[in-house]
């Protein structure tokens, strides 16, 4: 048995009947969540290329398989990623099933997870670009808009993501050329420029970020949170994979400076724009850009330290986006719009949801005692400090922008006379949000056991071997 069969082919096949169960959207989403969770657990429990016995029968999960003459490799180093993306898939399917069960979601989520896994597994890297394009195309029917919103956010998403694919294909071609002839400086310049443009498009970097706040504003929360959680993370890991695959690129002296600069620009720009937003969705969109900026800073560090920072940022991103997305999905399920105007005075009606949203934004803005703080601090201490003091200022501007918008949101939520308080949330909503808030505080207050836990988990997977 091959790992690709388990984490790529199996979810792809399962997604077909799930797509057909349109009348049973909620059941199919629960089924999808369960399958995704099982696949995430398999990633933790099963090691590749290790013999297992069921009674007298021996079986082994082979790490590689040949498909149409191309290799697809999923080894132990990829298990952390498999765990992360399938866990996220399970979580958003579960949230969708409980609060926003409109088809088609379940089948598409599973096929998207399978194809993103395929993009990471395929060798040579050239083919990853095409898998990403298929993922983008698959996502289009999933992006159902909020009833009150109109616009072209899906077209923007499709156009910007599709424009990246040709650049990525050309970059992979140029990088392969440099591998054959390392002395060819022109070819290496080509590869770097093409790669930069493609990843700038894929990560919605400046100036290609316009679609992110648009799509986050217009599309139903459960779907957009799934998309904007899983896709950027996989793309950053692909970028890491690309850098690791080509030694000359990893060791290029300009690479850290370039990634550092791009990361700082993304952080500062997203923070500045966040200050002027009047919609939770758009704020979330800018926070995705901020997180991507921090991930680029960590990527610029390189080596084991950089990969550790990326892992910490990913986990923290999962937590505060998980809480924010759940709260916004619940808000949507209660029929409340996400504009600041519609949220005025809603603290009295939905205190738990309001508090979760506020804490998520404060965590994104690195407020001490919340999960975002130790992660941001670790990146700032490692990457920005000492290199260029001005960059620290810009990073602070970015973070400050989110704190400021959090305060603006707070002033809107608590506006009006303080009377007639009630918990408008259901009991299960309170439990989900309560767990999220506790995790946010525990990680923020006692980060060391959490970080050590991540490192232990990842070292077991071999993720940190560069």
């Amino acid at each position: 048995m091959s790992a690709v069969l388990i984490w790529v082919l199996f979810p792809l096949i399962i997604s077909i009947p799930l797509l057909m169960l349109r009348q049973y959207a909620r059941s199919s989403m629960f089924a999808g969540a369960l399958i995704s969770l099982v696949l995430a657990l398999f990633a933790v429990l099963l090691e590749m290329d290790t013999p297992y016995f069921i009674r007298t029968t021996q079986f082994q999960i082979r790490s590689q398989i040949e498909v149409f003459g191309r290799l697809m490799i999923l080894n132990n180093a990829d298990r952390a990623l498999l765990f992360l993306i399938y866990l996220m898939g399970a979580y958003w399917l579960f949230v969708g099933a409980v609060f926003d069960s409109i088809p088609p979601f379940s089948g598409i989520v599973l096929s998207v997870l399978a194809l993103l896994t395929a993009a990471i597994a395929v060798e040579p890297f050239l083919y990853a670009a095409l898998f990403i394009e298929v993922v983008v195309l698959l996502c289009i029917p999933m992006l159902i808009r909020k009833p009150e919103k109109t616009g072209r956010s899906e077209v923007f998403f499709l156009v910007f993501m599709s424009l990246a694919v040709p650049f990525l294909l050309l970059a992979a071609w140029a990088a392969a050329g440099v591998e054959q002839n390392p002395a060819d400086e022109l070819m290496s310049t080509r590869a770097v420029v093409l790669l930069s443009v493609s990843f700038m498009l894929l990560l919605a970097s400046f100036p290609f970020y316009v679609w992110v706040p648009k799509i986050a504003e217009q599309i139903r929360p459960a779907r957009v949170f799934f998309l904007l959680s899983v896709l950027p993370m996989t793309i950053i890991l692909l970028m890491l994979d690309f850098l690791n695959s080509f030694g000359w690129l990893r060791n290029a002296s300009f690479m850290p400076q370039y990634l550092n600069l791009l990361g700082v620009v993304m952080i500062a720009m997203s923070g500045i724009w966040a200050m002027f937003q009047d919609d939770l969705g758009r704020l979330f969109g800018y926070s995705v850009i901020l997180e991507n900026g921090f991930a680029l800073l960590a990527l610029g560090v390189g080596g084991q330290t950089g990969q550790t920072l990326i892992a910490i940022l990913f986990f923290v991103r999962m937590i505060h986006f998980g809480l924010l997305g759940s709260a916004m999905t619940m808000l949507h399920a209660h029929g409340v719009e996400t504009t600041f105007e519609a949220l005025t005075g809603k603290f009295k009606q939905f205190p738990a949801i309001s508090l979760s949203i506020l804490l998520s934004f404060f965590s994104i803005g690195a407020l001490p005692l919340l999960a975002g703080f130790p992660a941001r601090l670790a990146v700032m201490e490692t990457v920005v400090h000492g290199e260029n003091p001005l960059r620290v200022v810009w990073v602070m501007v970015g973070i400050g922008g989110f704190l400021f918008s959090g305060l603006r949101l707070l002033s809107r939520l608590v506006a009006g006379p303080i009377r007639d308080w009630k918990f408008g949330e259901e009991w299960y909503e309170l439990i989900i949000l309560g767990i999220g808030v506790i995790v946010l505080f525990v990680i923020g207050s006692y980060p060391e056991p959490f970080i050590n836990g991540i490192l232990t988990l990842l070292s077991g997977f071999g993720f940190l071997q560069s």
């Binding site: 095409l130 394009e133 599709s162 050309l170």
Partner: protein
Amino acid sequence: MGDPAFDVVDEHFAGAGGSMSLTDWSTWATFLLIASSLLLLLSENWRIYLTSLAVQYLAVFALVTLSWPIGLAAVKLVAGWMAAAVLGASQPAADLRYRFSKGNAGLIFRFLTAVEVWLLVFSISPKLAEWLPVDSMILFQGLLLIGMGLLQLAMSVNRVRSIVGLLTFFSGFELIFAALESSVLVAGLLAMTQLGLAIAGGYLMSLPGEETAG
């Protein structure tokens, strides 16, 4: 042309009893590309629009045969025509009217912008030829389509025009990439991408209550 590949294919065509040399072939295809991409930008008639898209794919096919065997190049033609058919089938008559640049003034404006793109492509293609080891004519043709595709994307907020702009951009890229890489799997996946784009476009066009004019 001075490219040995062209000489080989020239001989092939001459041997097959063809009277047209490869240089002529390429020149005619370039004119077809210019005309079809211009019509895609200017036309507000759905039938002319789709026919131009089909002609554009024909020209792309003709040019890809210079780099790939005809059988493999035919994938581009079939996928392209299928994409056009999918778009045509999804809407009997899509609204292609421009919202912002209407009338003759808009038409002249769009034409002049297209001319600017041609001039830009003409002036930068020799410089880019230093970057990509592709025949300068193919590079010019590919960049022309890329430029016109981006122009279509930029000039309108119409969903159909955005999708067709993207398809035109991809066609230009494929023309250049075909000269660099001749993998069957890449050809197949790119054809799938093109079809997928058309299907996604058809889906987006069919969304209820959408304003398509732009």
